[in-house]
């Protein structure tokens, strides 16, 4: 039998093939890769495993476009993604497997949630038909992470992937940013489906990222401010998240407001700005805390009146009219009663408000802050930065470090006494320079976050400052530094104690040091094992040289500095007291 092949048929066949490139059949995993590319992702922090293998298999073909950093623990991955997001303003991306891989993310998710950091986590999950059967490495990730994510979703069918990931990236980065987790079952990763292209999400009908700005409220606020004799501006991370640093600077300069930051808002304005009066909070500066209870109009921008900032709420700014600018309507009136709320993205609301303000200066009021600063300098700061003892203080190390960095570096802190000292004495010229775990206070934050920060801002010097407790919590990430060689400067302030807890035990529990003395390995030896150079300093005379060596070293460097064992951080607002009851020394408590 003769086979008749029509020429037209062959031509048609070829046409079909090229046309169908748009509607090709790809796997769910490939769809994940395509989504990441479309969303502008170039760095992924992750750790593979059984349930996420198909995604990793697809990632193998995208190695030129998507850089994957293999960490040593999934918590390291999510903290790194946080560091990446904080320093660059982009969304961090994490890949982890099911079961223990996903549960290891929980701490980081809680941290990102409470500090509003945009992170998208993609976790593998067992096959859909095994859900609920206690299969190998199966956990109910969605329900475990529901309280600590802005949104989460489980994908059981590959056709959902493009739309769900578009929604995830949109939610993570818009409005008040936050972590999003997408759990993809293994069958969905393997399933082939007809890919119709990727469309970014810019609207979800039940979600309003930015409240509508009500001009009447802005008007009322402007009237209050113009009539104020002692206006005080306090700001938090909202200014940085909203990318509104310029608008904010214009705002404060127009009416000459004394301006203080929270620990999360630090670096939103340069620390040497003429209107900058220091930090708020439990270990903030003297003036901002006391004078909060003496101002007549308190203007809060992008901050949420955290309990560390307000102290006792019934003794917080009761005499003042409060104007609160925030993008999240649920934050307004949550802790502090507002006189005039201004809902909205501060990048939009600040210019409207600034236009209505009268040009003023409040020099006399601003000088009051300077008086308090002088008192604080005399009573606390001098002995911290220029100690007369043989032992080194954390303050003098931090102070010297900042003189050498000249305010240009990104400083990532861990949690504890060193965190307070590092934030009190840091100097910053640029925004997005102070990266710390504020809301959750996660020990072990510094090292992995610094790694992520370096990948997010490769041209900036990144310094991780940790205590001897915190560094040991995530020390395995030295392996990530060893393998991928980001240039991280690690400064360990070793006081041989869990300092902050010890301080509280000294002040409030009659010095009963219950299990706060912690021993450490020889950190320099440990670093050496990870092929990272380092040194240890115990004498004041070697400090400057060592810091310079660390900063100038080409590659990662670990510097351990032994500091005074029982030093305390002051000033302090003791718990249960009002902000004006801030004490400058132990005797005053």
């Amino acid at each position: 039998m003769k086979l008749k092949i029509h020429v037209m048929d062959t031509v048609e066949l070829i046409e079909e093939k090229t046309a169908s490139k748009k509607n090709t059949s790809i796997s769910g995993s490939q769809a994940v890769m395509e989504a990441c590319l479309f969303e502008g992702v170039d760095t992924i922090f992750g750790y593979p495993g059984g349930a996420i293998m198909p995604i990793y298999d697809a990632l193998y073909d995208y190695s030129n476009q998507l850089k994957h950093i293999l960490v040593r623990h999934e918590q390291g991955a999510i903290h790194a993604a946080q560091g990446f997001a904080r320093v660059s303003g982009r969304t961090g991306v994490v890949f982890a497997t099911s079961g223990p891989g996903a549960t290891n993310l929980v701490t980081g998710l809680a941290d990102a949630m409470i500090d509003s950091t945009p992170v998208v986590c993609i976790t593998g999950q067992v096959f859909a038909h095994l859900l609920g059967t206690d299969a190998f490495q199966e956990t109910d990730v969605i329900n475990i992470t529901t309280p600590v994510t802005k949104w989460n979703y489980q994908v059981t069918d590959a056709t959902e992937i493009p739309a769900v990931l578009a929604k995830a990236f949109y939610l993570a980065g818009s409005g008040r940013p936050g972590p999003v987790l997408i759990d993809i079952t293994k069958n969905a990763q393997l399933q082939l489906f007809n890919y119709e292209g990727y469309k970014k999400c810019d609207h979800i009908r039940s979600y309003r990222p930015k409240p509508i700005v009500r001009k009447e409220y802005v008007q009322r606020a402007a009237e209050l401010i113009n009539a104020a004799e002692r206006p005080f501006v306090i700001f938090g991370q909202g200014v940085i998240l909203g990318k509104a640093e310029e608008e904010f600077k214009a705002f404060i300069e127009k009416a000459g407001f004394p301006t203080a930051w929270t620990i999360m808002g630090m670096s939103g304005i340069p620390t040497d700005h003429s209107l900058a009066v220091g930090m708020l909070g439990m270990h903030g500066n003297y003036g901002p805390n006391v004078l909060t209870n003496e101002c007549d109009v308190l203007i809060a921008v992008g901050m949420r009146f955290d309990d560390r900032v307000t102290g006792r709420l019934d003794k917080y700014a009761k005499q003042a009219k409060v104007i609160h600018l925030d993008i999240d309507p649920s934050e307004i009136d949550k802790n502090v009663k507002t006189t005039v709320p201004i809902w909205g993205d501060c990048k939009e609301t600040l210019p409207i408000l600034t236009a209505l303000l009268q040009q003023k200066d409040h020099r006399a009021w601003l000088n009051k802050f300077k008086e308090y600063k002088a008192k604080e300098q005399e009573k606390c700061i001098n002995e911290e930065l220029h100690p007369l003892t043989d032992e080194l203080t954390m303050g003098e190390v931090i102070n010297l470090l900042n003189e050498l960095t000249k305010g240009e570096a990104v400083i990532v802190t861990d949690v504890g006494q060193h965190q307070m000292v590092a934030c009190r004495y840091a100097k910053y010229n640029h925004s997005k320079s102070n990266i710390t775990s504020g809301g959750l206070g996660t020990m072990g934050f510094a090292l992995p976050t610094a790694i992520g920060a370096k990948f997010g801002a490769p041209n900036r010097t990144v310094i991780a400052i940790a205590g001897d407790g915190g560094i040991q919590m995530t020390i395995q990430e030295l392996g990530t530094i060893m393998q991928f060689k980001p240039d991280i400067k690690i400064l360990i302030l070793n006081n041989q104690f869990l300092g902050m807890v010890r301080q509280w035990q000294e002040l409030f529990h009659e010095k009963r040091y219950s299990f706060v003395d912690i021993t450490s390995p020889d950190f320099v030896q440990v670093a050496k094992g990870y092929h990272i150079n380092g040194q240890k300093v115990t004498e004041r005379s070697s400090l400057k040289g060592a810091l310079e060596t660390m900063l100038n070293h080409n590659g990662s460097y670990l510097l351990e500095v032994m500091v005074g064992k029982e030093n305390n951080v002051f000033p302090m607002v003791p718990q249960g007291r009002g902000v004006s009851e801030i004490v400058l020394s132990k005797e005053e408590i």
Binding site: F127, A128, H129, T146, W151, T156, N187, S206, Y207, D333
Partner: protein, 202 residues
């Protein structure tokens, strides 16, 4: 000190309009359990608009707490709107079922009269038991239990509260607009649960 409404605990009914998404019930419930607030009654049902779900939650708290809770509920991505109302501002009903031994009904005329008084109607009549249904406010259904108990009430169950806000008009129109331009997404469930035998997997 002037004691105003905001400082006193009273019963509030929260009405939440949401997208129909699996897991959203949990997201809303944890907002209450996180603060250790007891949910007195919880009802979920479709609303008059296709694809939009409606929750009725009853709790006993002060107005300030309720206000903050509603804002937290609205913060959830899939929640469209949350309203809170006191009992005077809503029209509400709760349904209750009572299982009573049939011989008692037959013997005691009193019981029959009582049931008729409370507007209870028989749903199922069997040789040994009869099940009645009564609808109304909690005090009414509670009273009926108290009254039936001495006669040997076997079992009782009460449904959650369903409520309609007296003054609600605006939102429904608004959301209908939404529906026209943006129909709801389909709920994607897990269709693979019955396929355990068919798939070999690692």
């Amino acid at each position: 000190m002037i004691k105003n409404n905001t400082m006193q605990k009273q019963e509030y009914t929260i009405t939440v309009y949401t997208e129909n998404q699996i897991g959203l019930l949990n997201r809303i419930a944890i907002i209450f359990s996180r603060r250790k607030i007891n949910i007195e009654s919880l009802n979920t049902s479709p609303s008059e608009i296709e694809g939009i779900h409606r929750f009725n939650i009853v709790i006993n708290e002060t107005e300030e707490v309720i206000r903050k809770l509603c804002r937290q509920v609205e913060k959830q991505v899939e929640v469209l709107k949350a309203y809170y109302n006191t009992n005077e501002e809503i029209v509400w009903q709760e349904m209750a079922l009572y299982k009573v031994p049939t011989d008692i009904i037959a013997e005691e005329v009193k019981v029959e009269r009582l049931l008729r008084e409370y507007g209870a109607r028989a749903v199922v009549i069997r040789k040994d038991y009869t099940i009645f249904e009564a609808t109304g406010h909690r005090e009414e259904t509670d009273k009926l239990i108290a009254v039936l108990e001495p006669y040997g009430l076997i079992e009782f169950v009460r449904s959650a509260r369903v409520a309609i806000i007296k003054n609600s008009k605006g939102f429904h129109e608004k959301i209908k607009e939404f529906e026209h331009t943006e129909p709801s997404e389909d709920v994607v469930g897990n269709e693979f649960l019955n396929q355990q035998d068919e798939v070999f997997s690692m």
